[in-house]
Chain length 342, copies 2
């Protein structure tokens, strides 16, 4: 579950009470502790390292402020011009993120092979949006202003981010032992298709190619809200394409063929509903998906902070029970080769 190590768990909140968000990200012992919580408590099949996508621009030299309840993380001094972009540290940034590799390595050791460990990074477009807007945005006026009127500056920034993220993900694998890495383009969905294909996807492809050239781990690509470019996402070189909850997963499978796995895609808000209704939603998605290879069941976005933990557990139980029932009755075939890869 995306954002599975988080505020909906009382055990997470207990750790967070003793340290602020960024300290938690930067203290491997604490990050490992909360990363493993949902494995023990909720029964998920993989651990996702506890971290934040914005540590990358921070490592490149931007001041990052996270004050919970104050409208999300912020860069108080967003990038304003070419000189600001040129000043970003692309050479030393991956080194400054050593605490992430250490957190992964410690988590991996503590997991002791129970479940795979997923590393991640934000996509260049999403990180550039934060770096330019300074915070979450409704209209993305500043970065879209660059896109239309100063595309050169924006491309320079995206390239700098892609370079750093490429090294960052490889080191998550080589130093941290991540078994899979995921790229999150949280804000690609605010773009026209043309703009997505010019300003977001090529930089994700650059990262994927670098990860693939340096490691042998699968790559998951999740571009939330990008429901207009599945064929392009499926041909990005990623092994898995994540889907948000708005699309019918069976239709996407039919549209793109079987050469990548799909991840998704129950509406996270469904987890507030009664367990029998969660169960029905899970059934609907499994039935739509049908007997195709390569499905990682997941939410279509991060689990919400007030979700009852019992419901999260119930959701995981539903997925596991129903999958096994479908294997048993022969409605879907268990495919070892896909299980082995993703």
């Amino acid at each position: 579950m995306m954002r599975q190590a988080g505020r909906y768990l009382p055990e997470y909140r207990a750790v967070r009470e003793k340290s602020d968000f960024l300290t938690l990200c930067k203290t491997p012992e604490l990050a490992a502790e909360v990363t493993i919580q949902p494995v023990d408590l909720v029964g998920v099949d993989a651990a996702i390292i506890f971290s934040d996508i914005l540590v990358v621009p921070e490592a490149m030299g931007m001041e990052l402020v996270v004050e919970e309840g104050k409208g999300g993380p912020q860069f108080p001094t967003p990038l304003a011009n070419d000189a600001d972009v040129a000043k970003l540290d692309t050479q030393g940034a991956a080194d400054k993120l050593q605490y992430v590799y250490d957190a992964l390595a410690l988590t991996k050791k503590q997991l002791d092979g129970r479940v795979p460990l997923i590393g991640f990074a934000g996509a260049p477009w999403t990180l550039a949006s934060y770096a330019i807007e300074g915070k979450g945005s409704k209209l993305y006026r500043k970065i879209k202003g660059l896109m239309y009127d100063q595309p050169g500056m924006l491309h320079d920034l995206l390239k700098a981010l892609a370079d750093v993220i490429s090294v960052y993900l490889v080191r998550q694998v080589k130093q941290g032992g991540a078994d899979i890495v995921q790229i999150f383009d949280s804000w690609g969905g605010v773009l026209s298709k043309d703009a997505f294909l010019e300003f977001s996807l090529p930089y994700m492809i650059q990262i994927i190619e670098h990860v693939k050239s340096e490691t042998d781990v699968p790559v998951i690509l999740f571009a939330k809200g990008v429901n207009t470019s599945y064929p392009e996402l499926a041909n990005s070189g990623a092994d898995v394409v994540g889907l948000d909850w708005t699309v019918d997963i069976g239709e996407v499978r039919a549209q793109i063929g079987n050469h990548v796995a799909l991840q998704g895609n129950i509406d996270p808000i469904a987890l507030y509903s009664r367990p029998e209704n969660i169960h029905n939603e899970v059934r609907g998605i499994l039935e739509s998906y049908g007997n195709h290879p390569g499905h990682i069941f997941n939410l279509g976005h991060g689990i919400d902070k007030d979700t009852p933990p019992e419901h999260a557990k119930s959701f995981i139980r539903s997925v596991k029970e129903m999958s096994e029932e479908l294997y048993r009755t022969g409605e879907i075939e268990e495919r070892k080769e896909w299980n082995a890869t993703v």
Copy 2:
């Protein structure tokens, strides 16, 4: 342009200074004045009646509060249970909206045939979301809670809204003289495809069927963010399907065939950029659309409040000049039959 009568125009702000938002909606002389402003000032090819989608739940008995700069319109007492839904006035609501028909009729008279006049209503799903959440929402937890756990109550509410909207739109045509009506589903995009097909689309189809049985005006259906259901939208009975800016209009045309017109779909934020770049964006959309019948050029969402009016004019000029250039050079054929209808 969606929201073309609005805050980006100094002439609109001058009228608004003298009366609050709802008074403006409810005073036919003022509504007509601001409705006609963009026709005179910006050069658009149609007038859209100045109103608000939330006047419908208000006419059904809900208190509506619009305080600008305070996070948008609110229903301070949202619907909480079956009894609240049962209390809604479905019989008298369309009568209470007489001021809208009067505003349309006065606008029609003042336009004197210069351009067609568009009436509109919010979709049942979108209005239900406001009525249940009480205001704009990020997660739609309350209405999604109903959807999963009390679908009967939600269907009752959606049916009540669809009944009222059906009569409301017919009277916009018969009493107000609207030449076209548009249904806006601003929030259909937060739903899974299954949920959209159960809780939103059928009620819009009910409305379209009613309008079609009582009038001969074309119907435009715009479901913002619903990029997963173009074939279903194209088969809704609507004459025109509106597209937001995230999708490639040529790809949608190829997907659904030629039996409905398409409306859209430049990113409204592009109108902040330099006129030559707006021009390039317009060209990209016209080229993607190609030589198919039935294109209403429009924004992919409402014009933003700080858009420079000169840029809006420049956008309209670009669309007109480039369309005429394409006709002249024979790259697209002028189709009188479509022009006559939509």
